[in-house]
Symmetry: C2
Subunit: 306 residues, 2 copies
């Protein structure tokens, strides 16, 4: 029920995921509000959390909301993963409250893949779940982000960078300097030191770790730059030249591309862009299924237990 | 002596500023290392702080460096402003140590104009001088940034936004929430509330206030996005179409465009891109002269005294 184009595009995407990828999809929502589901099962949920609702209070109040019921289905083993194109904060809160945390995880983090031409995306985390962080949490983000990049993108030893404002270990906030020291000591990850905002969209780093405030600022700045630059290019080029560039720039939009993943909860929870089309929904469901198949959760559990 | 193309391009730019804008330019550096100065005065300085030198220690050690002598010339009234294309941190430290702070200013901040098509730039501060900040400093950044946007871009009442990760006053870190409360109360500025990274390159805000860590992350993320996207557009377009787009995209690069300004010291200190060409140097000198002519310092003193 969540997302700007729900339920029509969401159901269409679910049907495509079933038809084209052979994935067994269970829809969660108001049965009477849904278009033809093509025979997909429907788990009834009478309430809807809107895109503009406050995540915390709506998740507490609307106990029969579709995303809460979806998270419960994962918790109860009725589903292997959840995908939502709805309110990001509410989907995260539903997953955290209903699935619970992986043992040992202090705080789950939002991991957002940043697409880059001709190479694997850079995984940025935390992209906004925890505005204020402790150094030990950032170490877990590094461990979880590394495990995610390894299983999702097939990287043997993902390069993990710490977001700062200079390459030297002496640069940055107290939090960054303390985290730098811990990451240099911890085993099981390939820590390459500090990186800067300008490194995010390069092939020089695979996982970038930061607190949820700076991570969200970086992510939104990238998105804003992409929008501004796309508009400037469109205004300059003749229509036929723009038509060749537009899809290239669209493919670089982190919002449209990836699907944010909540790392650290006891289940796979993928959140797509609010404006997800049927194609984006089908892709998101396919990614979620793939993360189950390759057992991301086991990799995350191992990573934080190491 | 500072900058990747010094001294040739710097001297050429200084000569152009004198010839085309009628500005009386004093060069500071090693007389024997300079090309033909076209009759410009030279203030001798025997040492050079290199682009890669550590700002703090080099400023303490190299007391006869060109940027130190330039800052002293401003302090002593022998020059009205300084411009450097050299090591940013060292230029800032030189200005702070030799010119001192404006009375009442807790911490100077780096203000960087972010160019936007068809409108005035957004002034972002602090873009990197103070990694960790107190709320009262951010209030002064808002006051100084507002005065800067007013006198430099002729805006009557610049709209001042506080960088956060959501529009609501409840969003962000403890620092952001505390600053939000103070900015809502303080007079003399037009505070429009929280803004996000995606608002930086829009016409919705004129001045964006944040700590030097988040500000630098945002600035570098924008620069990295512009570089990545420009490369992607160039790789897609035929050469003649790219030739029409390239100058439009170059004009959006904050590094190439603006010149960072250290707000809060007792003098005008403008720092250009390390790769500044003669044209960029001439423009930077002209901006510095204009900031003296319109008496930016008086506006800053009034702003923090209000």
């Amino acid at each position: 029920m969540g997302g700007d184009r729900a339920p029509d595009e969401v159901v269409a995407g679910a049907r495509r995921a079933a038809d084209e990828h052979g994935i067994e999809v269970v829809l969660v929502g108001r049965p009477e509000a849904l278009p033809d589901t093509g025979g997909l099962a429907v788990l009834p949920a009478s309430e809807v959390i809107a895109m503009g609702d406050d995540p915390g209070s709506s998740v507490r109040r609307k106990k029969d909301a579709s995303m809460i019921r979806a998270a419960e289905a994962v918790r109860d083993g009725k589903a292997a993963a959840m995908f939502s194109a709805g309110n990001t904060g509410a989907a995260m809160a539903s997953a955290l409250l209903r699935m619970g945390r992986i043992k040992g995880v202090s705080r789950p983090a939002v991991a957002t893949p940043l697409p880059i031409p001709n190479t694997t995306p850079t995984v940025l985390l935390d992209a906004g779940a925890n505005a204020e962080c402790q150094a030990s949490w950032l170490v877990q983000f590094a461990q979880m982000g590394s495990a995610y990049a390894r299983v999702r993108y097939g990287l043997d030893e993902p390069r993990v960078g710490l977001l700062s404002i200079g390459e030297e270990s002496s640069k940055g906030t107290t939090l960054v300097k303390e985290t730098h020291g811990l990451l240099a000591e911890v085993g099981g990850i390939r820590f390459i030191g500090n990186v800067e905002g300008r490194d995010l969209l390069t092939d020089d780093v695979d996982v970038v770790v930061t607190d949820g405030f700076s991570g969200n600022v970086a992510l939104k700045s990238l998105e804003g730059a992409l929008r501004c630059l796309s508009d400037a290019v469109e205004a300059t080029l003749p229509a036929e030249a723009w038509a060749t560039v537009a899809p290239v720039l669209e493919a670089l939009d982190p919002e449209a591309y990836g699907g944010a993943m909540l790392l650290g909860v006891e289940g796979v929870c993928l959140i797509g862009h609010g404006a997800s089309t049927a194609t984006a929904v089908a892709n998101g469901i396919a990614v979620a299924a793939e993360l189950v198949r390759i057992d991301l959760l086991a990799a995350l559990r191992n990573a934080v237990a190491a």
